[in-house]
Structure formats: C-alpha cells, structure tokens
C-alpha cells in the first residue's frame, strides 16, 4: 500500500497550473517556510468567474498535489462556488490523503479563498 494514492502522485509529479499571474486580480498566501509548507495562489477573475488560477508551492508531496487539484477545481467556477470549495473536498477529490497530512499540508482551499478575498478587498466588495 503506497503512502500516497495514485491521483495524489500524479498531481504531485505533474502539477497543473504552476506559475504566477503577472497582473493577478488577487493573491493569497498561507503557511510559512518554518512549517515546511507555503502556498501562494494567483487568481484572474472576469464576469464573476475564475478565468485563471495559478500557484507556487513550497512543501511536501501532499501540499503540491493539493495545490494542483484546487487550481483545477476552481478554474471556470464563479467566485461564490470557488469560496465553497473546502479542504475536505480537495482531499476527497484526490482519493484521500494520509491522516497526518489532512491537518498540515491540506491548505490549498484556504490559499485560494485568501486570493479571492484579496480580489474582493481591492474591488471594494
């Protein structure tokens, strides 16, 4: 029984949407280097929809896989739908995470929400 599911390993080894958005509408960051996990999310929002999501992540296999999965889940969703994505949803979509990773590396949805909140603040919403 491998430590991580096949889906987690796929998203870790071939992460989707890695990078930065130069003129992002919102940027959100969670975690910090001392903990061993840090995620920065960038969102591009047009007509209330997440047109593009990109991320940069420093962290373990789970942290990278979670970031990749969240970006994939969020693209194309409305702001309201994206704000409803939970860390638990992301873990489920990945086919589960080892118990100790649920607590520490599963921060992708939080980072996405922070980026959206940043956008809302900038646009006075």
């Amino acid at each position: 029984m491998p430590f991580y599911s096949e889906k987690v390993m796929d998203h870790f080894a071939n992460p989707r949407n890695v990078g930065e958005i130069k003129d992002a509408d919102g940027v959100g960051e969670v975690g910090n280097p001392v903990c061993g996990d840090m995620m920065t999310f960038y969102v591009k929002i047009k007509d209330n929809k997440l047109e593009d999501v990109k991320f940069k992540t420093f962290g373990c296999g789970a942290a990278i896989a979670v970031s990749s999965m969240v970006s994939e889940m969020a693209i194309g969703k409305t702001v309201q739908e994206a704000l409803k994505i939970t860390n638990a949803d992301v873990a489920a979509e990945l086919g589960g995470l080892p118990p100790n990773k649920m607590h520490c590396s599963n921060l992708g949805a939080d980072a996405l929400h922070k980026a959206i909140e940043d956008y809302e603040k900038k646009h006075g919403k």
Binding site: Y4, M9, F12, A13, P15, V18, E20, V27, G28, E29, V30, G31, N32, P33, V34, C35, G36, D37, M38, M39, T40, K56, T57, F58, G59, C60, G61, A62, A63, I64, N100, K101, H103, C104, S105, L107, K114, A115, E117, D118
Partner: protein, 416 residues
C-alpha cells in the same frame, strides 16, 4: 527501472555470505540452545561461537556480550537496566540531545519514574563538547550515554575523551550507542574506556533481529525481559540462532573488510558531496566536513527553498532511495531533533536530504544521482514561492502578503 539504495542508515542489504551462514540454522539445526540433547548442543555451540566473533569486532571479552533483538532493545536495556541497578546511589542521567529515540525515550520514561536527566547540547557540526559534559556531571550522576556516531549527520564523537572525563569527575557508568559506528569505523571498548556499548547487525550487512549490548565485567544491570536463564540471566527469551549466526558472520566480514569499505565509501561520498556542491547553489552540508570526524558513508544536505519529502519522492520516481529530516518526512511532523539541536535554520532544514552509502554502491550510481538530483531540485524550485522571491529580491521570504505569521503556525507544531 534502476534501483539505487542510498538509505543505509536505516537498513543495509544483507551480504550473501551472511545469508549462507544463516541457512543451516533455519533448515537443519533448529534445536533450542537451552536443550541438552545433541541438536540443542549444536545451537549452543553456534551461539557461543557467535558471541566470540561479535565480541572480537569491538575487542570485548566473550562473556561481556548480551544478545538482543535490535539496537533499540540494546539501548533500552542499557539505559533502563543500568539506571535502575544504580538508583540507590543517585538519580541523575546525562545524554546528548542528538541521541537515537531509543535512548531519548528511554530517558523520558526514566524521568517519569523519578530520575533526573540533563540533555547536552551540541555545536553546529553536531559535536558534544567536553566542557558541557564537565559542567553537567554531579555527585549523584549514575549514568552518561553519548552516541559514538550519529546516523543522520554522521558526526563521530570523541568518546574516549568524554568517557575519561566522566570517570575522572564522577562515579557514573558510561554507555555509548555505537549502532551507526561498530563495523563501520574501528571500535575498541578497551581503548574507548566505556562500560557499555550498543551495536547492531542490520546496519552492517547482517540480518534484522540480532544486536548486542556490551556490558563490562562487573557492571550492574537489571534485566528488562524477565524469564529464563538465557544470556547470563540478563536477557530472557529463546535465542534467535539464525539471526545471531548471521550477525556474527557480518561482524567477521566487517572487521576483515573495514579498511577497504572505508576507502570505497569515502571515495563515493567525497564525489557526491563535491558534485552536488558544484551543481546546485544554496545547499548546505549538515555535520562535519568530509575528512573531519564524519562517517564515511554519510551525505546530508539542506537544500534551500524546497522541502525534503518532495525531494525524496521525486528521487524515488527515478529509482533512488534516500531520506529526509524535514517535518513532513517525520512521522511526528517535527523537524529532525538532530538538525534542531545543531541550530540548523528551521526553514532551511525542511529541505534536508540524506544519502547514506553502502559497500554495494558504485561510481556509476553516484554519477546517476549527480545527473538526476540537480534536475529534481530545479523542478521543485521552479514551483517554489520561496525561490521566486529569492530570485527577484535576493532576500529570504519569511511570511508573505496575506499571511499572518503568528497565526499561521496553526497547521504545524512549532516550539516557540
């Protein structure tokens, strides 16, 4: 798919000659050494022959060897057995902060039972300093336990000096955990001047399931396993003859080939250290420099801006097996206690990667690591917000926009 095993601090591949030496005791000579009939006598002879060979590796007398099941058991027996045997003359124990968990957690348990412990710090190379030991010794110190070599960063302590200092300044018994050292570097209990020493089979190309505790003639120890009269009534339980016979063979081979293996390991280690330093920027060697008091097969780097578990998962995908001291790689989700004691920057230590080499590794395998590892590091750095921040500003990122540094420890346990 290539398979390159570079995690020899956790376990080694068994030597074919060792496996051959074990076979008869599985298949033909299965008698219990405590039985008087002939089949038992064969096992008894094998047991005592093995005791002699194992003793020889560390220049001990044959009857100073107690067989156990693993290094952890040897350390538990030494710490708990000696402390409890001496508790009427004092309750103070000294260990270093970078001991194996089998020592540290034995001491924690003893503390719960009323013993007092001092945990000696180390310098940034992982050395226990004589002056710190001198300061810690008290009239009621009964036991000092300091490892001979560290599995994680490879630092070899000056045990001869530390044992001498202990003897001159206290009545304490001196134990050393030599699991990472015995069979790898010359170990002579008489020269070191120690009273007890743990060592194990599985790290020297022997089988799992056998280890030993050297205990000097006359030293008091209370058994931790109660039962029959095996092992001079110091450790009860039916003796694992196949594993013990294998351990003995592994000791014999280790002694005969120690110099040859050391040269081979040093060549590979130096090549790996030098190669990685040339090919990758912002990496830091943990422990003593090559050529100083460092185990021949140990390579431990902190790779800045990336995390260790990611490093070894991508290495594994290339068939290279290594370890890491990062928080995520540890079951307890804390940065390695060894790196922490050495004052390695916590954020940088999260990128630790540990390669421990064996006599079976080849130049070609090291070349392959030197070719693949830098690509892996670059791939993860290209994904890392810490790295892009560093490239853009030349500064290390502490906490970025939208983070509340104080509250963001919520998801990890940091000892503030």
């Amino acid at each position: 798919m290539k398979q390159i095993y570079l995690d020899n601090q956790s376990n080694t591949k068994i030597d074919d000659r060792v496996f051959e030496a074990m076979k008869p005791y599985f298949l033909e000579f299965y008698g219990n050494p405590q039985s008087i009939y002939s089949l038992g006598a064969v096992s008894k002879d094998a047991l005592e022959d093995a005791r002699g060979k194992v003793a020889e590796l560390i220049n001990a007398d044959t009857n100073e060897i107690i067989f156990t099941s693993c290094g952890t058991e040897s350390n538990n027996l030494a710490l708990k057995g000696i402390a409890n045997a001496l508790k009427l003359s004092g309750k103070h124990i000294i260990v270093s902060q970078i001991e194996h968990f089998s020592v540290l957690n034995s001491v924690k348990k003893l503390e719960k039972e009323g013993f007092e412990a001092t945990y000696l710090p180390v310098d940034n190379k992982g050395n226990v300093l004589a002056e710190d030991l001198q300061k810690a010794l008290r009239p009621d110190t009964i036991l000092v336990s300091i490892q001979l070599a560290n599995t994680e960063v490879g630092t070899i302590q000056n045990i001869k000096e530390l044992a001498q200092l202990t003897k001159q300044n206290s009545k304490a018994v001196f134990h050393t955990d030599a699991v990472a050292a015995a069979g790898v570097i010359p170990v002579d209990v008489k020269d070191l001047g120690v009273d007890a020493l743990s060592f194990s089979s599985s790290v020297i190309y022997g089988p799992k399931g056998a280890a030993a505790l050297y205990i000097k003639k006359g030293a008091k120890i209370i058994p931790q396993l109660d039962g029959g009269v095996q092992e001079f009534s110091k450790r009860a339980g039916t003796e694992n003859i196949p594993a013990i016979a294998g351990f003995a063979k592994a000791c014999e081979i280790a002694k005969a080939e120690l110099a040859k293996n050391k040269t081979h390991l040093e060549t590979l280690r130096n090549k790996l250290i030098k190669g990685l330093q040339e090919k990758i920027e912002n990496i830091y060697l943990n422990g003593a420099a090559a050529g100083e008091n460092r185990l021949a097969g140990n390579v431990n780097f902190s790779v800045e801006f990336v995390e260790g578990e990611s490093l070894f998962l991508l290495l594994d995908a290339k068939g290279i097996m290594a370890a890491s001291g990062s928080a995520c790689a540890n079951k307890n989700l804390k940065l390695s206690h060894v790196l922490n004691a050495m004052n390695v920057d916590v954020a940088v230590g999260q990128g630790s990667i540990l390669f421990t080499l064996s006599k079976y590794n080849t130049q070609g395998e090291i070349d392959y690591v030197l070719e693949e590892f830098p690509k892996i590091v670059q791939r993860l750095r290209d994904m890392s917000p810490l790295y892009s921040h560093f490239v853009k500003t030349g500064e290390r990122k502490k906490a970025g926009p939208g983070t509340d540094f104080d509250h963001d420890h919520d998801h990890c346990d940091i000892e503030e």
